[in-house]
Subunit: 120 residues, 2 copies
DNA sequence: TCGATACCTGACGTTGACGTCAGACGTAAG
DNA sequence: CTTACGTCTGACGTCAACGTCAGGTATCGA
């Protein structure tokens, strides 16, 4: 498929896909005229890239780690890197849960007021 | 305390504190010469602000919601806003857990290789 | 064959949360 | 009183992940 279709199916912009390629996260076959073509697995890969981005990983980190995901091989360094990122995400989850609970408490408190309006 | 001490104790930069004030997230008493002074609760407040930032809230959103936290009062709109942000954080947590598990799987796979080095 | 899209490569613009620097004033220790 | 450090207000710089625009080429349905 071409870049437009991949963008639609993976729900990202065409610009984002070109950016991923620029960062070495996504490969494409080029037609003789230079247009990018992708296989089916590209859809999942883009999704994975998005997930890693939204988990707070940077392009460079993703570029470092994706080869491990691809080849399912790792050097001692990349294993450490993977574990470090996993731990970072773990503590990020813990922080988020704390913040969510704090928001919940606020909601509960402000909810107890009958109408709870500031200018009653 | 003055801004430098607050920065140290809350582990943020002086610049960040001035930025928070600029965004309406943090108040200060000014000495006659114009220097900022803070009370003890400011330390916790800065921590809360940081938590909300790292949960993905924007300055404006935080500025909208902090009055509810302070006064423990809310309008119907702010209650909806609080709930919306809470739900966003919830799904963010779910996404992070998925990504973490995916990383775990990768670690498990690459770990099975005895030494797992790419250039064995 | 022709027009409507889709795609290409630069390259500059955007946004948020600060970093950093300049130039001037405040404050505390000796 | 001086010296050194803390603080002040602008105001420009930064960085990542794209958005957007310009000018030209490709592809495809009718």
């Amino acid at each position: 498929m071409r870049i437009g279709e991949l963008a639609t199916r993976a729900k990202v912009s065409v610009r984002a896909l070109r950016y991923y390629e620029e960062q070495g996260l996504l490969l494409s076959h080029r037609s003789p005229s230079g247009q990018r073509h992708y296989g089916e697995p590209a859809v999942d890969r883009v999704q994975l890239i998005q997930d890693l981005y939204s988990a707070g990983l940077t392009s460079k980190t993703i570029a470092d780690l994706l080869p491990c995901v691809d080849a399912q091989v790792s050097t001692p360094e990349s294993r450490a890197r993977l574990a470090a990122e996993r731990d970072r995400i773990d503590s990020q989850i813990a922080d988020l849960i704390q913040t969510r609970d704090r928001l919940d408490a606020v909601i509960a408190l402000t909810g107890t007021q009958a109408s709870g309006c500031a200018y009653v």
